[in-house]
Symmetry: D2
Subunit: 399 residues, 4 copies
């Protein structure tokens, strides 16, 4: 074969190597290149200015970890065909292809309640058609229909390469060095038993560290009050624009108007794949001068980083407190009571340190037995961490 391979520089792993022409073809596709224009962490850069890395960088990183994991498993005697290697590689490259502008922050706002996983799968099918069915294996692995479940678990599970890369990468770019995990050690400890992905006994402490790092990143970064406040502003901008029918460019207008919902899937996907953070940012820049005072205020404030205030508390926010905030707003800003609801509101976030039921981390002992990490002796990770922690917040614009 004449494909000479390609090396990509990465600030974290040094070099990422592309060996297979089909992988290169996927990476070169305009839909994949679009991931360059979507921030991995939406507006986290308003708090952590370094965190401006793209979904593409993350996806390439996860691909790199997949290569390392597959090599390690092969070294331990797991048999893999070249097609399986390529399939797992493409599954991870495309796992986030269905994210829209600002990814999680706008999920649920632009295309109804379709999840990004659902969109990823729909787009993978389209790409598979364009590429003569050569993504079939990738799709099977992605949807866990392939007969080697551990390949799916590497793409999506408690210990998948997606999580490993995003924790490392988000930690690296934010400068919150405590999120760093020992990915090389975890990968060296991966093993397969009964076709399931497991970790060896001696990895227990590294896994604990991984779960605690994830816990830290959630509360310190992803759910940081100012990050959350900025993302709530974004959500409210999009909702307001839709409600008042604010003008925007195609293809954003196509989604805001609701047209997408009645169009054929393939047409909708083509339009979706034309959108990225630029479309939203450009609209926000235009809407700064919109004559709706709520929309223009929100846009201006977000661009100038005059962010909402947000306060966390353990119990739901009372109606009285919320009403009081809204009255203050009306009083000070001259906005209507209805408008004030846009600019002062309550909400809830939730995070679980370890999903006990859904996705287990299994420890393979030397004596052949298998235990869930929450059941090992003297476990750090216990039942009580498996419950979701809810935090309630009130969020409001300061005038």
């Amino acid at each position: 074969m004449s494909f000479p391979g390609k090396i990509i520089n990465d600030p974290i792993y040094g070099f990422i190597s592309i060996h297979h022409p089909l992988v290169m073809q996927v990476i070169s596709h305009p839909w994949y290149q679009r991931l360059r224009r979507i921030y991995q962490m939406a507006f986290a850069h308003l708090v952590y200015p370094g965190a401006v890395h793209s979904r593409m960088a993350h996806s390439l990183g996860a691909y790199h970890l997949m290569q390392l994991a597959l090599s390690e498993l092969q070294r331990k005697g797991v048999q893999l065909t070249p097609d399986e290697e390529v399939g797992a590689s493409i599954a991870i490259l495309l796992h986030d292809i269905g994210h829209g502008p600002f990814s999680h922050a706008l999920e649920g706002e632009l295309i109804g309640n379709r999840s990004h996983e659902d969109m990823s799968l729909a787009m993978m099918h389209q790409l598979n058609n364009q590429m003569d069915g050569r993504l079939q294996m990738a799709i099977q692995i992605f949807t866990n229909q392939y007969h080697k479940p551990y390949l799916h678990q590497l793409v999506s599970g408690q210990l998948d390469v997606d999580r490993m890369d995003y924790l490392i990468r988000d930690s690296f770019y934010t400068g919150v060095s405590e999120g760093v995990i020992g990915y090389d050690r975890i990968i060296k400890m991966l093993t397969v038993k009964n076709d399931e992905l497991m970790v060896e006994e001696k990895a227990i402490y590294s896994i604990e560290k991984f779960l605690v790092a994830r816990r830290l990143m959630y509360w310190q970064v992803y759910l940081h009050k100012t990050v959350l406040a900025a993302e709530q502003m974004l959500v409210r901008i999009v909702r307001r624009a839709r409600e008042i029918g604010a003008e925007s460019h195609y293809p954003l207008s196509y989604f805001l108007s609701g047209e997408y919902a009645v169009a054929p899937e393939q047409f909708m996907l083509t339009n979706f794949a034309m959108m990225d953070d630029i479309d939203i940012m450009a609209a926000i820049k235009q809407w700064q001068n919109h004559n709706d005072p709520v929309l223009s205020r929100l846009c201006k404030a977000l661009l100038q980083r005059k962010l909402f205030k947000l306060r966390f508390q353990n119990e739901p926010v009372s109606e009285e407190i919320l009403a009081e905030k809204r009255e203050q707003l009306v009083h000070r800003s001259g906005l209507s009571a209805a408008d004030a609801e846009y600019l002062a509101f309550a909400g809830k976030v939730s995070n679980t340190t370890y999903h006990h039921h859904a996705e287990r981390i299994s420890i393979a002992y030397k004596d052949g037995s298998v235990k869930d990490i929450s059941e090992v002796d003297h476990a750090l990770i216990q039942q009580n961490l498996a419950a979701a922690v809810d935090k309630y917040y009130i969020c409001w614009m300061t005038i």
Copy 2:
């Protein structure tokens, strides 16, 4: 004073501290916040996907190094007033405020031949008005009219904190770890003599290393053939759009139409300060579908990373070779001969390892003598490195 200070996370330095309210006020200004939306390295991320950091991150980093340098000089007995500290800090924070979208890549395309330094100064004057003259000292330092030239040299000189930060930061984000410099060691070796900034004798090897790292970053990153090719595409897009009067949004339209040239300075600046990378990227996304085939092809190719090819050579590109490339293009693409000039062209880049005359690096010896680094015994950095190295290139679209 009631300003409690602010700490910003940085992936390189860990924490950057803001102690003074005036510094905070500058950072909070919309013109400064706009630097979030300008890539530090324009389209270098098409080759180095990690290199998506913003001008703001660089400017905060240079500010941090300024704090370290000023502390070190004070520790060595250099007397500085609080106003001088704040002045130098703001001068470095604002040194790049005058960059437009895609900074260097589009310099000379949007506002005629005004340099970004010139624009920075103009914008600093405006800000100074808004802030009741409190930026006076910063402006004096920036323009080297203050009676302590070493403060200016820290902002702009062979060894300034601007260069130190961009080398470190660009090296960090690209993953080209060889560009890393020993900034902490260089800063520890800074000294002032006769009001000039110098380095102590024992820093010679660190300075050599700094100049060689810079040389490497230029040829390996900033002037990388693919980076250059992408930036040439951008330049050609903007030129074409202007020539054919392609529609765009305000304020980009104001600059493309040439209106800016006949407007009052202050009005022009206000408009300029509204523009960032988003405006250009949004226009490119729209122009993909323009009916001018040159413009639409260029835009689509850039977005999809189907970049120009570029070949360096030591001698100027001959007319014959260029003519041949253009003919090929016409033949294959059906474009007109005139259009082909847009898509196949020649150029020149230039870099100097050490500017011997313009900006010296002076070594302060223990015995009181001073030498230029190119004159020390057994110098690595010599006359021959002071000459600019020119490289010629031919660049063309592949169809």
Copy 3:
């Protein structure tokens, strides 16, 4: 003052600065310089070859963190006199001065059951005499008799700079990157309330991470079965040499013979301060050829890294298993039954993730309240982690 200061290169912190002449005097003292010749991690380098750093490097590192912590507290309004700064600095520099050869590994073997803290204090008193009482403040802080308990807590507590440095440094040198802690973030979060050292509310996740990193380092490194095996060999070598009266050089002979126990304290200390790892290693090299087969076998095996085997289990090792191992040894090696007790034995190690009672980590909330970290909402660190975890082991020489 004519002391120009001194800068020491450190691989972790970059530069460590010495500003005060008394600090320099302490560092230059032969007793302090002796710490260069004591491994920080005894024989951990037999498992982690990079881990050959000295007690001196650790002690300088802890000193550096003390500077950072004191600066941070001062920035937050805690008033400190120059004498207090120097006192706390010297207290941390000398906190480990009383360690003998191979530190913890031989604690209890050379000078009876005197702890290294006890020896450190005795040596600090001697040094104080030599330095005209100028270490008085350091001694008060070290012994927690100074009226600002937080200074002692920085030297010795759950969150002291000693632990911070050893976790970072041991993690760095072993290559077990997961032990890395966010020391800069923790230090930025330190505060003083009611003269006690506390951390601010937002540091909770960093502290959790710190405790989990410590837990990991204990089980993965400090109590690693091969490290423990090597250290047990060392202990048995010293015991055997003492029992059979094996010849050694002064001053080691002075301690092995028990003479030290009947000598005046000052004389004993002077001799103690002459010993370091070199004395033990040189004796082991000589004893390789001793005619006692137990001693010579042990010495040869340790030097050639033919280490004991060690197996952990959750229950105490039964007498039967132990007897069996010893019989095997006798059978295969021709050693006597009595000798076999030296070469096959059982033991126990113990570690606690969080000392709930002894040394608290207090969280200072913004509303003025204070909680122990094990009592915050949704705490990771809970009662059950406060119990010591015991592991039992059997350890034997393979012939």
Copy 4:
């Protein structure tokens, strides 16, 4: 085969993998394990306290880089047999096996003028006998008698893995971060042409950086005046002990007495392989109390880090200056004139940035041509850097 492989933690590369049982056998040999007890950088730790890494750590690191380099060459189509891989691996593992205590610092003092390379070869022959001739290929590669010269060049050449590792490692452990080189990039650029090791065209700037980093490490670390002073003390201690016949332990006594010179080679080698830094350090500790005042003073001063002063100059030290220093010594110390020659003396050190003749770095161009790096256009590395730079010094004990 039942060898399960072994993973070694390394602070620089993360994990080093041993795949072949013969490699494991070499590493487990007592002669190799002895390298644990020899500092890689002798007394550099008196200036850079972190630099206490062992020859073993370096040798394992160079072995790791060899694996990376061989993989890369194979990826580029260079055919290698498993025996060649193992041979090159063992050649690099053993390249420094012939170093004695304190390596370069005492080279020429203990076994006449036999170089460490010569001793390495002699020891490799012995090991080859013990291992039934299985080191034959390693010896051929080490001595450049194998028909693929590039394998030898990887072990010993301008760009060998030995240099790469020691620059990285010494830089890492000293904290002189400027010595860091982009080893991964250089290795990715290695290629073989006409059976010679070369680098690809685009590696030019990385190679320049490598040579400048090496230049920096020489002048800033290896030939640092205080490092040199400490090593001169060591040399003088050993010479003095030999001259006055100071008592020492076997096997050091065997070498100091000169007996080794008349013994059979094999016996000499066995004794040599019993010595390491411990023997020298233990002797120095004993000689502190020797009744020869020169010897005891030197030993005490070295242990307490009261080091010689050393001053560099560009011209040889004049007899007058030297005589004056010695007179001062006699005057102040009460030593004899003869003794003063031990404690005040002159010398010379020398370093070459690029060995133009001896060992070339060849650049392989895409067009098939080959150039030496000093001949490429706009080269940084030029004729003038190929000349050795000599520095003269005077060195003396301060009383």
